[in-house]
Subunit: 334 residues, 2 copies
């Protein structure tokens, strides 16, 4: 079907849609038949976690990934940082009439590969087609269900004064990679998105036995926004040291050039964690010995002050307050 | 905030998005805080069911409903007809820059009301904003998780020769209501969408003790397409009698006028069921005594032939084969 394009009829519920599902979707996913819901077996003991995320990244292909990989990894990560083991994903596509079927195949193939790599099946899906000009090629909304094993009880309320703050890798890479692609900029060495599933890393972190208080994956709004959420939700001050926050030299250079602050640029394969100070060394070692945490770093601590502020100790030995950005630094990076 | 509109910054992850969630989304839904996933308690015995559906209906407001009600009821119904008791829903919004905030409030309010009426909580959400012209006002993708109690084992493979085919109400109403609104047509009496949650009806059907083989809610592609899916998936012939299929007189008239076949027009508050012939009377009585099944009817039976065809016995005493539509009769009705 090379050269073919998506037509309105592919969203009809009729024969064209059934063929699209049979030929393009079903071979890549674990979707069987046209029933209204997928049955995924008993849940086992523990609490269920559910999450959803829409992906509207422009362009849909960028260095290091596709909108489809982002959609799978992002939802796996939302479950993982909640302490849940992902059980199953669903994918809802909104396609623009005229989208090249080969582009859809590439997206769907990259989703199947990402799902396989994270060990989580995509069990249900939906496809809608809207007329030319009514959406930008392809939007994907993924949802996920996971199971939080008994004994895992994460949340910002568990944060205590003295706790350590860790990050699993370099920050700001994904947003800069997408923005560079969108604006036709190229860097040497090239900057590729960090999109990756973190559920394996999270299991390794729990296996270390560290008392993890809370985790989050700092996507939109970047590291600074997630830290500010922790501060607001716990009511405590969080202190981070700029010199200890890992940023790739190329990303730092691109941000300087473009007037962006890497602390506010989105990540798609990085998590931050707050853990008991006495466990920080063990936890950092566990993270660094996992492929997705090789560049993990201890970047700060929770203060005794109850002012819900995030303070950045700058490399110039001064300090500044990190607040949320009022609006948008960089639209449609995920 | 009357007169305000959605801006790109509302999708940023920054302060504007946090305020939108706090002021518009959170009061309507059961979403607490900005964590990455919602925890919804232990699942209990049985199998989990998951489903997802995207809603791109144009216009977003139509007689009898909104895109938001459709999104909630549609996902509740996908779970219910799978035999699952809905546990929780998620909602992913893709909003166009410039959408009136009051329109978003109306949509979100109608979702909260629909969720309340069906007794299912919306526990997680996501909001993305795309630039003007990049989507049509508002797309919503809802996903749902449910629990199939032990002993419920539905599926087209359970269909046997002689089984009865039932429908819970009038067919074709939703699609005609949306199309009339889109084209500025008005009918007397007015035709309103049938959007409604069917989980209560489904529980009443199971409580009757009838041996239900399979259910489906015939949305896109209408009644004929769902019947053809049953025929294909079971390998059996299905016979339905045109005279017994309930269609509102106004819907029939509008379809005649517009050259549409009501059997292929979408429903949003109707289900079809195949059940053991000896239970058909009991099941029909149980359906009719529920407010959502008042107009239920016995419309046909499963034949002994294994040719996967759907035969419509027409009012003129002839018969014709109902196949899937090749493409689209009526785009963007859900």
């Amino acid at each position: 079907m090379s050269g073919e394009r998506i037509l309105l009829g592919h969203g009809s519920g009729g024969r064209m849609m059934h063929r699209l599902i049979r030929d393009v979707m079903a071979p890549a996913f674990s979707v069987s038949g046209f029933g209204d819901a997928a049955l995924i077996g008993a849940a086992g003991p523990g609490r269920l976690a559910v999450t959803t995320d829409g992906y509207v990244v422009s362009p849909i292909f960028f260095p290091g990934g596709t909108i489809g990989e982002l959609a799978v990894n992002g939802t796996v990560n939302d479950l993982a940082v909640s302490g849940a083991r992902p059980i199953a994903l669903t994918a809802g596509f909104i396609l623009e009439e005229g989208l090249a079927l080969d582009d859809l195949r590439r997206i769907v193939g990259s989703m199947a590969a990402a799902a396989h790599e994270s060990g989580v099946a995509i069990v249900a899906g939906d496809t809608k087609v809207v007329g030319r000009g009514s959406c930008d090629g392809c939007f994907i909304t993924t949802s996920g269900v996971g199971l939080v094993p008994e004994g895992r009880d994460l949340g910002p309320r568990a944060i205590r004064a003295g706790d350590a703050v860790l990050i699993s890798g370099h920050t700001g890479t994904h947003g800069v990679a997408v923005m560079a692609e969108r604006n036709g900029l190229s860097f040497e060495p090239p900057i590729a998105s960090d999109t990756a599933a973190l559920n394996g890393l999270v299991e390794a972190m729990f296996a270390s036995g560290a008392a993890i208080r809370v985790m989050r994956d700092p996507t939109r709004g970047g590291l600074a926004t997630s830290l500010k959420e922790f501060a607001l939700e716990s009511g405590r001050r969080i202190l981070v040291r700029e010199a200890d926050i890992p940023v790739l030299p190329g990303v730092r250079g691109a941000c300087d050039l473009l007037g962006l602050d890497p602390l506010y640029v989105a990540n798609e394969g990085v998590l931050i964690a707050v853990a008991a100070a006495e466990d920080a060394g063990n936890l950092l070692a566990a993270m660094r010995s996992h492929p997705r945490g090789r560049d993990a770093a201890l970047i700060g601590a929770v203060g005794a002050e109850e002012d819900a502020k995030v303070l950045l100790q700058t490399s110039a030995a001064g300090s500044r307050i990190l607040d949320m950005l009022p609006g948008e630094q960089l639209p449609r990076i995920c």
